[in-house]
Symmetry: C2
DNA sequence: GCCGAGCTACTCGGATAGTTCTTGTCCGAGTCAATGAGG
DNA sequence: CCTCATTGACTCGGACAAGAACTATCCGAGTAGCTCGGC
């Protein structure tokens, strides 16, 4: 019941990409956050497959957001990196053992699964309500308006 | 982001214990659900450590619920078996890299953590609202009133 | 017939290997921009 | 001065090991009930 560390990296990268004026290479995003470049690349590829970011090949290429930041929910990122499968998988325990329920009586999911699924949906709904744009705004509120400007400049400056 | 399979077993065991008239050995619970006895024992020990069930030693011993079934929430079981730590752990990425925020500016948790924590709390609240007694009632509603009676008889019968 | 010590069998509890999944890394295919020559 | 082919370097993308967590298992410590002998 542990979420992949890559989720945190991916979310921060999306927030940073909000401030970028052009495509940003994966290596520079890794340097910005001081994390493993190779491993971050793996997660950025997942975001790319999910259609959240798009890759620009060749020189001066990199990644950029495909949609406006207020249309990318945190849930989108979590599902792209960590998988969209629910955390709980029902193994149909009720159909096993000496008092197994017959399959024809198990058309409706069992109570345990229903409870877990409801909790999972509540979790997803909460993540679906927050967007990358909200997180970027939170930066400004916490560190002062214009807090993203140094990031934009750093990303644009040559290294 | 996958929940331990033992959680499902533990919840079902708690529901079955609702129908039991006395202590039930771990081996019999395993036989009832057709799962590994050794591994189920591990999870029952976790429930025991959490105070959800109590062990009775010696002959005719086993496990029994310590509280009424309407006072044991599904969240209690999940936290006992799978751990109470939140799924998302913030590694304070904002304090790393060339544009790291100074520690004195990070008294409040960052926006990503706040979002994840809120979702985690929504998930927990949902699980906290369902009790073992509700699941037992669901059995009766789905399979007919008195559906738990054969289970009680099977647990009491000698093997 | 009643009591008690001893014993047996059964219970849980924690320490111990095997396996799957996540983490972390690498090199190759593809692509865009810059460059230099030619018209 | 403008156009175009060539070159070059930089980008992503998927395939490849290492480590950790989960899964599964075993045997030892402890306890309650039963048995048998004595009173």
């Amino acid at each position: 019941m542990k979420m992949s560390d890559g989720v945190e990296w991916a979310v921060h990268c999306c927030v940073v990409l909000t401030a970028a004026s052009g495509p940003v290479p994966a290596a520079r995003l890794a340097q910005f956050h001081d994390v493993s470049a190779s491993y971050l690349a793996k997660h950025l590829q997942a975001l790319s497959r999910a259609g959240i970011i798009a890759s620009v090949q060749g020189k001066d290429g990199g990644y950029r957001l495909t949609r406006p930041a207020d249309e990318v929910s945190v849930l989108d990122i979590v599902e792209a990196v960590d998988g969209a499968r629910p955390a709980f998988v029902c193994t149909e325990i009720r159909q096993r053992g000496p008092l197994a329920s017959p399959p024809e009586a198990c058309t409706r999911p069992c109570g345990v699964l229903r409870t877990m699924a409801a909790a999972d949906e509540a979790w997803r709904a909460s993540l679906r309500a927050t967007f990358v744009a909200d997180l970027a705004r939170g930066m400004d509120e916490q560190y002062g308006v214009g807090a993203m400007e140094p990031a934009r400049a750093w990303l644009a400056a040559p290294h």
